[in-house]
């Protein structure tokens, strides 16, 4: 909680740093901020071609597959991008930490916020795709989409927690940076992003393992709202929110433990 208060006090600084991050990223590129929109669009296009014409996996409730996949992938990209960047943010900003006095928690915060902005910019693409699919009669429009801000809450919480925890840990243990990519890969395939847990034909033990993945509930929540068009069950809400809060708290605790000595290790 003190961490939240510290961050709130630094909100102006975080805002400026986020702007810097975004400006620096798109500086000297012709399309600039359009890339935030174009990236997901191109991604969707590639998936649409590959998963319609090259091979076409089928899941109950997973039609059309490109859209199904896309609705699972978007929040995942937000999460994984945040975590990957968080693993280097403190090291990259080492000079600032060591030479200028500044609170270290602002850097993971900046990572989360700038990725969240990218995520928000990608959502219109999803929305447009849903409208197109509805007009073409491929998929009914999910009227639950207005609940989406709520579904983003646990995603934001867990990404924030992960960013805090990973950023501090990767300063202390440098090879975490290499490990993070692989851990994310593992997490990706164990989350119901490219498949749906309902239509799985796997041994029961494996299904049980997959259902243990805490991120699964967040993916399902998002997809129920933004693709399937059903109001998620209260149980799913509860699990997802609990996972989000737990992720945040865990990350904050890890960060708090290392906070004081970060500067010495950077």
């Amino acid at each position: 909680m003190t961490l939240v208060r510290l961050l709130w006090r630094q909100r102006a600084l975080v805002a400026v740093l986020v702007r810097r991050e975004l400006n620096a990223r798109y500086r000297a590129s012709v399309l600039g901020f359009m890339w935030s929109l174009l990236n997901p669009l191109l991604l969707l296009f590639v998936y649409a071609v590959v998963f319609t014409y090259i091979f076409n996996p089928r899941f109950p409730g997973g039609e059309p597959y490109p859209l199904f996949l896309f609705s699972g992938l978007l929040p995942w990209l937000f999460f994984s991008g945040t975590v990957l960047d968080a693993s280097v943010t403190l090291i990259d900003n080492g000079p600032l930490l060591a030479k200028v006095m500044c609170p270290p928690e602002i850097f993971p915060a900046v990572t989360v916020v700038s990725h969240f902005i990218h995520h928000l910019l990608a959502l219109p693409v999803l929305f447009a795709a849903l409208v197109v699919a509805w007009l073409a009669g491929w998929h009914p429009f999910p009227t639950t989409i207005w609940l989406l801000p709520l579904a983003l809450v646990p995603w934001l919480l867990i990404s924030g927690g992960a960013a805090l925890g990973i950023s501090a840990l990767s300063v202390k243990f440098r090879d975490l940076r290499d490990l993070v990519g692989h851990l994310l890969n593992l997490l990706f395939f164990s989350s119901p992003i490219i498949y749906s847990l309902d239509g799985l034909d796997v041994p029961p033990w494996l299904e049980r393992v997959l259902r243990l993945n805490p991120l699964g509930s967040l993916v399902e929540l998002f997809r129920d709202i933004a693709f399937t068009g059903k109001v998620p069950e209260p149980r799913l809400w509860f699990v997802a929110m609990t996972v989000g809060v737990a992720g945040w708290v865990l990350g904050a605790i890890v960060f708090g433990r290392f906070r004081e000595t970060l500067v010495e290790s950077v």
Binding site: A12, V16, R20, A98, K172, F173
Partner: protein, 412 residues
């Protein structure tokens, strides 16, 4: 209290786990923890060991000592970048650290944006940075480059901008770590001038430097650190002498403090019969004693003397030289028409200057007390060294206050 800085019983230990290689791997942490617990002790480096130091508002203190003696650690503790392992560091007001100029500039974005971010990192809010922007740009003097990405800057421009931002924060305490040695001479002079002005404005300063001449010019007090402990503290000249002596591998002879032994001629520098002794010579301005003084500052030479018996035949004289030996000015009480009455016990004589209109550079002051016919009571060459600073450099020694006037159309 604003501008106060207090170290009490500060100990700082850097720890690293593992033996030779710093333990930076997950494997090491997971597999190594139980193993290490019984084999290798935690290695630690004691950077500071029981440091007590109090710096009052407006004071300039220099930290000197060999590399690794804990000077930079002290600065970082004062700046809140590091936390003490034991003890307390208490700082009043806003602190700015000039540790690495331009640290944290992002190469891809413009100077203007970087100034904003750096200013905010140093504790200003957005509006404050914006209102100080003209002043910052003026000092940095980088012109239109301000709207170019910082990666296009020369290293000099980079450093200038960094310095300009850091001092624009108007801190109560300014921490300076060797930053004055970067940049060209003109820049260093401008920085010194700026720092001298801030000092006059009452900013507390802590300076770390290996440039002992600078330390002598800049600080009111010096602290000599070695191996994490304070070895000597106090008068700049004495502390530097102690440090130099230590570096040379010997200890100084405990010198008898003042008294009658001034009779002894100090090798080509000081002589006299000793009936009157010059106790101290200082250049004082409104804010106190200064060795680093911006050009044009009103100031006075304060000469303290002591006479064991009453003396009625005396002249007090002052000569200013440039460091290269050029005589700049010479004046004495006799030439200025003062009639001596008596000098007895402790006395203080001040020679006040409306404005020190000298060009920037190093100056030395000789001070003498002698009889009307020139017999020296105490003739002290180079009794005081001062550094005059300015934002620019002019040839010559006189820097008169001036005003250019012209017919219409000659200048813009």
């Amino acid at each position: 209290m604003k501008g106060r800085l207090c170290f009490s019983g500060v100990r700082k230990v850097y720890r690293w786990r593992g033996s030779r290689v710093r333990n930076e791997s997950v494997k090491g942490a997971v597999l190594g923890s139980w193993w290490r617990r019984r084999t290798v002790k935690h290695e630690a480096h004691v950077a500071l060991d029981g440091v007590d130091l109090e710096i009052v508002p407006g004071e300039s203190v220099a930290l000197i000592g060999p590399n690794g003696s804990g000077k930079s650690t002290m600065l970082k503790l004062a700046g809140g970048i590091l936390k003490p392992t034991e003890g307390d560091v208490d700082v009043g007001g806003r602190v700015t650290a000039l540790i690495e100029l331009g640290a944290g500039f992002h190469p891809e974005i413009t100077g203007r944006e970087n100034v904003l971010i750096n200013g905010m990192l140093l504790g200003l809010d957005r509006k404050e940075v914006e209102s100080r922007l003209p002043e910052i740009l003026d000092f940095a003097g980088i012109g239109d480059f301000i709207d170019q990405p910082v990666k296009t800057y020369s290293s000099g421009m980079y450093v200038r901008l960094g310095f300009a931002v850091a001092v624009a924060v108007e801190p109560d305490v300014l921490l300076i770590d060797e930053v004055l040695s970067v940049g060209d001479e003109a820049f260093t002079r401008r920085c010194l001038d700026r720092l001298a002005r801030m000092r006059q404005a009452g900013v507390t300063m802590v300076l770390v430097s290996h440039d002992l001449d600078l330390v002598e010019a800049f600080a009111d007090r010096a602290v000599y650190l070695r191996a994490g402990r304070i070895r000597a503290e106090g008068d700049v000249g004495k502390v530097i002498a102690r440090y130099r002596a230590d570096v040379a591998g010997r200890t100084t002879q405990p010198r008898k403090d003042s008294g009658s032994d001034v009779r002894v001629i100090e090798e080509g520098r000081r002589w006299g019969c000793g009936e009157v002794e010059i106790r101290s010579v200082e250049l004082v301005s409104e804010v106190g004693s200064m060795r680093l003084i911006p050009t044009g500052t009103p100031c006075a030479l304060r000469i303290r003397t002591r006479a064991d018996r009453e003396i009625d035949n005396f002249v007090i004289g002052v000569a200013w030289h440039r460091a290269d030996g050029t005589l700049v000015a010479g004046h004495n009480t006799d030439l200025d028409g003062l009639v001596p009455r008596r000098l007895t016990g402790e006395s203080e004589i001040r020679c006040a200057y409306d404005a020190l209109d000298l060009t920037p550079g190093d100056y030395v002051v000789d001070v003498a007390v002698h009889t009307k016919d020139g017999k020296a009571y105490d003739y002290w060459c180079k009794a005081l060294a001062v550094k005059v600073t300015a934002g620019a450099e002019w040839p010559g020694v006189w820097n008169p206050p001036r005003q250019w006037e012209w017919d219409d159309g000659v200048f813009d």
